[in-house]
């Protein structure tokens, strides 16, 4: 996070302190802009050719290696929580969105949305939904609301309204703007997860690692109904169809919620299918994270998971957010 960049309140222009989450004068929430990874100033990252050798299309005109641009990747580092959203290797733009902020006392809000590529303006839908839900949850934590489950439902309703507000023109064969959403509101060892679609949350803590969300997907329905094994459903052409989403044509059902109060420290991982396609089970993600040196920061862990998905092909946009849950306050649990 570049705290130096946050100098004044966007509403009343009052000066802010680096760690302020709300303006002391008017109470406006301080928006944390995603930090962007800029290309190395020294030119080509591979052959060290000078910057003028990098073409407008991002390829080095000497060694041919593609340089990563700010639009390819967004990163947010709040120390205890961090996230990466990456274009991947196949898609030409990033249609995922990540919202991550700390608020109130020890409160952390994470929202990951995945724009549905068969729809119009999926990137705008995902960005609008993530910020709308994130805003509602941050306000709830700031108000010290005691009903985080209800607040999560409200946040997802707000996200749905935000997606409905995305301007669009109909395209033959393409749906109205739509996206998935998974959110987490974390405070004092209580984690409330809400979701629509197949973006996921995992609790990663050694033997206790598990997937917290249950996909709203055709595959999951088959498995739940006992009609198919995970392997059978996974190889079906409909495997990637989701049954619920946010958008004008979305089924009208309440979002799914789950609350956990972990007894031991661990890591909460929220991600889009760009990651979990390559590491579907909680144990897969646990193995990847356990392989990192102890003391690895949330940001470094998010980097590592993203790099794994990129190395395996990066066929979809990849978004990973990690929240370190270090000291659960048992007296509140």
């Amino acid at each position: 996070m570049s705290s130096e960049a946050i100098l004044a309140c966007r509403t009343c222009q009052a000066q802010l302190l680096p760690d302020d989450r709300y303006c002391e004068q008017c109470g406006t929430r301080v928006t944390v802009e995603p930090a962007e990874e800029l290309p190395a100033e020294g030119g080509c990252s591979a052959c060290k050719a000078p910057a003028e050798e990098i073409g407008a299309d991002g390829y080095c005109s000497r060694c041919g290696i593609r340089q990563r641009t700010p639009h390819d990747r967004q990163e947010i580092d709040l120390v205890l929580a961090a996230g990466v959203s990456d274009r991947g290797r196949v898609h030409r733009r990033n249609e995922d969105a990540l919202h991550l902020e700390t608020t109130g006392e020890n409160g952390i809000v994470v929202v990951v949305c995945d724009g549905i590529s068969s729809s119009v303006s999926p990137d705008v839908a995902a960005r609008s939904a993530a910020d709308a839900a994130g805003g509602v949850l941050a306000d709830a934590l700031h108000r010290k609301s005691n009903a985080l489950s209800d607040e999560t439902t409200n946040a997802i309703h707000a996200a749905q309204q935000a997606v409905l507000g995305v301007p669009w023109t109909p395209h033959p064969g393409r749906d109205s703007p739509s996206c998935t959403l998974v959110s987490a509101a974390c405070r004092d060892g209580e984690l409330v997860i809400g979701w629509v679609g197949d973006s996921r949350a995992y609790w990663i803590a050694g033997q206790d690692s598990r997937q917290l969300t249950v996909d709203d997907s055709w595959t999951q329905e088959q498995i739940t109904a006992g009609l198919m094994s995970a392997a059978q459903a996974g190889s079906d052409p409909r495997a990637h169809e989701i049954t619920r989403w946010l958008g004008a044509d979305a089924p009208e059902e309440e979002p799914q919620l789950v609350t956990i109060r972990p007894a031991e420290p661990g890591r909460l991982v929220l991600c889009s299918d760009g990651l979990w396609n390559y590491a579907p089970n909680a144990t897969d993600i646990a193995t990847l994270l356990d392989a990192l040196p102890s003391g690895t920061t949330a940001l470094a862990a998010a980097h590592s998971l993203t790099d794994t998905a990129l190395a395996k092909g990066g066929r979809d946009n990849i978004t990973v957010a990690i929240v370190d849950i270090q000291t659960p306050r048992r007296e509140h649990a």
């Binding site: 390829y59 041919g64 290797r89 190395a311």
Partner: protein
Amino acid sequence: MSTFTADTYQNEYLPLGATEVNAVVTVTSSDGAIAANSADAAEIVIVDVSGSMSAPRAKLRAAKDATAVAIDCIRDDVMFGVIAGSMTATPVYPASGTLVAASASTREEAKQAVARLKAADGTAIGTWLALANQLFSTSPDTICHAILLTDGQNEHETPEDLERVLADCEGSFQCDCRGVGTDWEVSELRSIASALLGTVDIIAEPSNMAADFQSMIEQAMGKATNNVSLRLWTPQGANVAYVKQVAPTIEDLTIRATPVDALTGDYPTGAWGQESRDYHLCIHVQPRDAGEEMLAGRFSLLVGEALVSQALIRAVWTDDEQLSTRINREVAHYTGQAELAEVIQEGLEARKSGDEETATYKLGRAVQLASASGNDGTMKLLSSVVDVDDAATGTVRLKRSVDDADEMALDTRSTKTVRVQKHEP
């Protein structure tokens, strides 16, 4: 000038450690006002009048008739001329040693001059091309095209002499070659046509000459954009294994490269009408780590020195076998078509030298490839040389007696490819 587009078809995903990048680039030119100005085109018809043309007598008569048809196809204002070739080359029309603008009266005079031609003497094709080159040089800034009609082998000059002339002519004009009868060498005429970016074919029946001449002239007159070249950039440490035109015919352009700088080479493609051509590029690169993307080739299309279109050839290394093992249809298709041309030429060579086992194997493989890719034209030509027992497995028997003309037709047309059914890139 035409509008050019270039589209890449490839599987950019490579397994870790892989170094070979393959891609097919389809170049299409459209919307060109066809030779908007006829004065921008020049055409020379070169007729073989060596002694062999008079045996049988119908051969020379058919060649004269065909030349007359070609002359009739030349549009008004196109600069044209006719050359008679034997041991030396003679400007038949105009006799002045320049070209003349086509009109009703000049076309009539040219046809009368052609009608008076007599056959005698030997064959030195290099001298004919050298004269054509000299005549074209009197009409600068034109799209220059020649038709070469011969019935014999190039017996009266050394291969080195011919090569020297070809090197002089390259880039000055394009030349389509036609062999009449069965006494000429396919490989000889093919090397002339390749060097001069033209086609080669057999005219077995002299009576068919006129129709073929007409279509060649019409095609030459349909060229709207001259001097089109491919420019291929590859990264440091890369090596261009080959650059081949693979549709409508196979032409290996690899050795035709003119270096622009250490990483870039230009390949000539001549003049373009409204048409589409496919190129298969194979580039060897230094492997990178999983997830890294390299631009393995930047394929640019130039008219003169102006960039008109571009296509990127990418390489992305991955350990995801689902991605890296995916076969690109276009690349696979043209790899098959190139092998088809190769096994036909090798099979016919083996047959000539009496190696029936190799001939049967190679031509059997050709039948298999032609049948699988739906190359009906080549399949039909193959069936005049072999009896097909089972096309799917390539089981064939060599025919005991084969018409020379059929065999030569198969040889000349072995490089004709069929295109793969296109889908969106």
